[in-house]
Amino acid sequence: MAGISTDSDLQGLARLGDGSEQDRLHLRLILRILVRCLHLLTPVRKHVFLLFTGFGLLTLLLLPLSLLFIDTLWTRVLQGNPMLEIEAQLFRVPIEQATSEVGFDSDLRRLVAERLVIWGALIGLAFAPPFIGLYYYQIWILQRVNQKLRVDLLSHLQGLSLRFHSDNTVGDAVYRLTQDSAMVTQLVQALVLTPFTAIPQFLYSALVIALFAPKLGLILLCVVVPSLLAGGWFSQRMRTRFRVARETNAALTSRIQETVLGIKVIKAYGAEKLEQEAFVGASHEAFHAAFRARNLYAVYAMGMFWLFGTFAIFITAVGTVEVMKETELAATVLGFTIWNLGLYNYFKARLGGAVESLKDVFRTWGRAQDIAIGLDRVFEVMDREPEVQDAPDAVPLAGVQHDIRFVDIGFRYQADRPVLDQVNLLARIGEITAIVGPTGSGKSTLMALLLRLFNPTSGRIEIDGVDLTRLQTASLRDHVSIALQENVLFGNTVRENIRFGKPDATDEQVKAAARVAAADDFIERLPDGYDTLLGERGSKLSSGQRQRLSIARAVIKNAPILVLDEPTAALDAVTEQRVLRNLSEWGRDRAVFLITHRLSTIRQADQIAFLRGGLLAESGTHDQLMASPDGAYRALVEAERIAAENAR
């Protein structure tokens, strides 16, 4: 959208929705959003066509019927004027008698009234189910459109880099997915259905009135000019307020989400009151913004109605005079030649219809500003180009035969802050590479680059000599299993959590993976075994148990590259030994990367890479590194040994 940079360079990712571009919004934006949304209708176009046909047919049937029914009621039955031929035919009364002054007596009027009422009721009842059915159908269609937009948005969000996610709140994403995307259902209503029904209705009413009285029809058409001018003045201001309302509500959603997420810390530090105050503040702000937005909208709607109403009162007054004078009509319409009471009522109904449709159009226009802002917020995210994208000629990774090579890797979040610099590393299939170093030295980042969660700022990573950027990202990630440092579990069953990265894994495979991770025992002891539902983030389990599930999840992918990021930090010594034994057995013909601080684990590696401050300080086997007298690794081992000896 306007004003939002779509480049994904490292500094260009500002936070979303700072509202800075709101002043630049105008009609073009709304039209552009409409065009974008129309293509969302493509998958349901058959249904839309059917729906329109249905509504069109029903309306075509009902419109002339209602005209005849109204005239028969007012002019004929109530006033006693003889019926028109077509009316007599419709109500199946003797034509000659009904169309003559004398023959249309009270008895016949009663008969017609009886039929009018009964048939009217029956027609009403008969038409209700198809109308209701079509309405329901319309909702189903629009829900489908909304569903597609939601899922597309989620899918796009998932493809955006971690940097984007770190800069934007979860609550904001949730708000965009739930609330902003819902506007698509109304956009169709507001910018397609309403204009398609209300504008013709207005024109039709104006035309009918113009047929009876050309001057009045012209006046009615004139009302459009001032209303458009006023509408433009209001809509600019409404959009700004609608945006603020959406932003504050999204912020409130975030506030709730973050509070619940951090509830333990809040409790432990007695910050409940503080959080409560912050919530009350955010809630107040959201309501205030909503008030300003909705109030302006109501004032706008009222102002518009005042405008139409003034015209309508004037037109009615002129029309009344015409009836009193029994003026001749400008043209003969459906057999009417002069102004009479029935025509007057019909005229008033048409005028009412015209005002109603104008009111509809302008109210809808007001709402459309909010709808556009909502959808703008959806497209704002959709227009963000993912930092990591497949090249057009990207190929799938067919397997890993030989090695993974990090060549001159450099990475920085911000220009002046290198996280990794000039890292060169070669890892072969069948080897365990231990990545060692102080916290914050870039170990996890190096692995994130291997998964292509980011692109390196400089240098490249090659698998069997092929640069990662030439591979399809999805197939690359299929070939890498990772057990994360933070053991994230999802609100699902144990089984589903283990096969998270490989949904088609069989139960047997799930069990086998759990056995490798030494998780089988405790899972079997859970109330429902593998079908036990975990709370969100797996909070029912101890951290050691979560860690083992997360290892099982990595194992089950059966990928040639395995990354274990501090896999045993939360395990007690006994379990750790078991897990490591199983893993070294299992990982025999894979390339294994192991980030760890534990010497006992490190020593089992074929190669040790020592990172410090983003630089590869040294690398080699345990023995090689120990041979270097001033080596960082050696110092680490020495320190550990002294500590261990003290312990004994």
Partner: protein, 664 residues
């Protein structure tokens, strides 16, 4: 540790459905809840009455135009006598020519129009004020209108005032209600919270609370305004056309018709609404979970899986909402059949009266308009029960959380005086309601200046034991005492003020580094913040951040490494300067060097405090004054490191051997 599946409120164990009686109770409770707003409700009722009066006068100008202007009947010789209240006004108009009358009527209409935004009889020439915005076809997006509900029967200046008053009232109600729910959520005890889904909490606070608006308006406004509207209308018809009471009966018949048409489906509506809300909450949860854990989703290749889950949950929420909607349509349809027949009969009577010369055409227009006035209100009253079912489902979900037992922080309880001696855990058991014993007969003492290490296999109950001290959980037997005072008898905030807790999972907030550290103690000076960061070995990396201590961390501290986040959470605990410091695996992500430095600094500052640490690392454990080895919820061994090592065949000895096993 929490044992799986048996937390006190594991899952959302709320009942799926309510009986009609329970529903009544829920709604009655909502009405009691709005008591503080009663004067504002009273004003709203007055506003409704004020707007009804001019609305009822609306048909008169139309009648005058038809009968007296167009048809030219003399105004003082009406077919039917005017109602008493109006007679003087009508008679005052006698003697004017039709054109003069037309002018007067138009002027009157224009004035009425400015004031109440209406001038004709039909709906189209009338503006009722509202500020409803577009919403989608799912429960969540529908509720924003409800929370900000503003409406008026009238338009014009009166309508605008009424509208603003109502919206302010709705917002105040919702603000009050959701703040209460939020406060409740904050006080829910910790194990309950572990099981709640965050998206569900968001849904309840944001989208279930607005049910209070509909429920209270329906119950407080409709029963007053609808009968009033009916009575006023009936009085007018009665004086005008008293010889046709059938018409009034017909109109009133819509009350039982709507009631009986909707009653059989009211229960279904409530259930379906409940399901729709549940499905909406599930979709919100799935989205929230995926976004919160985006690193896991991306690195484990779970995008397709997450997308499929969301696709299912989202469509489910749409479908369940459609169920609610379908039921509403169905209720309209079944009510329409008897309604149309009764309406047709009433019409026929009125037409017959015109044919017989008993009524003028103008009267007919007037009569049918009033007829619809009565129908509208009669349907509102008759469908009242049906129309609150959706709200009842939402309210039930809110009250469910509000009723979940929270931590009782009784401010009338004495405050805990600053700790001087030490703390004592005396014969404590902790058992979940389902009988799973987590802790058995725990006895533990810690003196000021002591460091106690809790050691044992995963799932042994170490974290639960630590949770006893700040009363995150209460013992099922035995007591926890600080300086000899049972902590269950002191007020909670004074207890927690004396403790700093570092959790296994690091949670940081979307704020600057300094703000995150200062979360431990709001009034800590910059110097104290830096001091805490130095002890936690965080100062050096913080200084390297682009804006140092003022660097915004982003969501969840996403830009820092896990070890850096852990150090910030240590600093947050240290800045609190609380006499009791509880660390649950505080150094798992730190490298040995950093850890060693941290532990030795910790030792040097703990002279005037008690440090309880849960750890697997020998290097941390070793320096403790007292090591407590826990297994299966029981204390197996205790003593200092050398003492325990000296124990032949001790559990701790095995543990140490394994830890250092294989190392040179």
């Amino acid at each position: 540790m929490m044992t799986p599946g048996n937390g006190p409120t594991s899952g959302l164990a709320e009942s799926e459905d309510l009986t009609h009686w329970q529903t009544l109770q829920v709604i009655a409770r909502a009405v009691r809840f709005v008591k503080p707003f009663r004067s504002r409700f009273a004003v709203k009722i007055v506003l409704i009455v004020i707007s009804l009066i001019p609305l009822l006068m609306l048909p008169w100008p139309v009648k005058i135009i038809i009968d007296n202007v167009i048809e030219g009947q003399p105004i003082n010789e009406p077919l039917r006598p005017y109602p008493e209240a109006l007679a003087p006004w009508m008679n005052a108009l006698a003697g004017y020519s039709p054109y003069e009358l037309l002018f007067i009527v138009i002027a009157f209409q224009a004035a009425l129009f400015l004031l109440i935004g209406a001038f004709g009889t039909t709906g189209s020439e009338r503006e009722s004020t509202e500020g409803y915005l577009a919403s989608g076809y799912d429960t969540a997006s529908r509720t924003e209108n409800e929370a900000n509900s503003g409406f008026s029967l009238a338009g014009g200046l009166l309508g605008l005032f009424d509208f603003r008053w109502t919206m302010r009232l709705s917002q105040a109600l919702n603000h009050h209600y959701r703040s209460q729910l939020f406060r409740r959520i904050e006080t829910l005890p910790m194990p309950a919270f572990d099981d709640e889904r965050i998206g569900d909490a968001v849904f309840r606070v944001m989208y279930d609370t607005p049910s209070i608006t509909n429920a209270s308006y329906r119950l407080l406004l409709t029963p007053i305004t609808a009968p009033l509207h009916i009575l006023m209308t009936v009085a007018i018809i009665g004086t005008l056309y008293g010889d046709h009471p059938e018409l009034i009966y017909c109109a009133l018949a819509f009350l039982p018709i709507s009631f009986f048409a909707t009653l059989p489906v009211a229960g279904s509506l409530r259930r379906m609404s409940g399901r729709s809300r549940k499905a909406g909450a599930a979709a919100t949860s799935t989205a929230e979970e995926g976004m919160s854990n985006i690193l896991a989703v991306q690195s484990l290749g779970g995008e397709e899986n997450q997308k499929a889950r969301y696709e299912t949950d989202s469509w489910n929420s749409f479908s369940r909402y459609r169920d609610v909607f379908r039921l509403g349509l169905y209720a309209v349809l079944i009510g329409a059949i008897p309604g149309t027949l009764v309406g047709a009969y009433a019409y026929f009577i009125a037409i017959d009266a015109v044919i017989a010369g008993e009524l003028s055409r103008g009267d007919f227009g007037l009569l049918t308009t009033y007829f619809f006035h009565i129908i509208t209100s009669a349907q509102l009253l008759g469908g009242l029960w049906f129309s609150v079912q959706d709200s009842a489902a939402g309210l039930h979900r809110v009250f469910f959380l509000m009723d979940s037992p929270g931590e009782e922080d009784d401010p009338s309880l004495p405050s805990l005086t600053p700790i001087r001696q030490g703390l004592e855990i005396d014969k404590v058991d902790f058992t979940y309601p389902d009988g799973t014993a987590i802790l058995k007969g725990i006895e533990l003492r810690a003196e000021m200046g002591q460091m106690v290490a809790l050691v044992g296999p995963a799932g042994a109950g170490k974290t639960t034991l630590a949770y006893l001290l700040p009363r995150f959980v209460g013992p099922t037997r035995g007591s926890v005492r600080v300086d000899g005072v049972d902590i269950s008898g002191v007020n909670l905030s004074s207890l927690r003020d004396q403790m700093a807790f570092v959790f296994q999972e690091t949670v940081l907030f979307d704020a600057t580094v300094a703000e995150n550290i200062r979360f431990g103690r709001g009034n800590a000076t910059d110097e104290e913040v830096r001091e805490a960061a130095r002890i936690a070995e965080a100062d050096s990396f913080i200084r390297e951040l682009p804006e140092g201590y003022d660097t915004p961390l982003g969501r969840g501290g996403g830009k820092l490494s896990v070890g850096q986040r852990q150090r910030l959470s240590l600093a947050r605990a240290l800045v609190r300067k609380a006499p009791i410091l509880i660390l649950d695996e505080p150094t798992s992500a730190l490298d040995p060097e950093t850890e060693a430095r941290f532990v030795s600094t910790l030792r040097s500052i703990n002279r005037d405090r008690i440090v309880i640490v849960i750890a697997h690392r020998l290097s941390t454990i070793r320096s403790a004054d007292q090591i407590v080895f826990i297994e299966n919820g029981e204390i197996r061994e205790r003593g200092s490191h050398p003492e325990l090592l000296a124990k032949p065949n001790g559990r701790y000895q095995d543990f140490v051997a394994l830890q250092s096993g294989g190392e040179d």
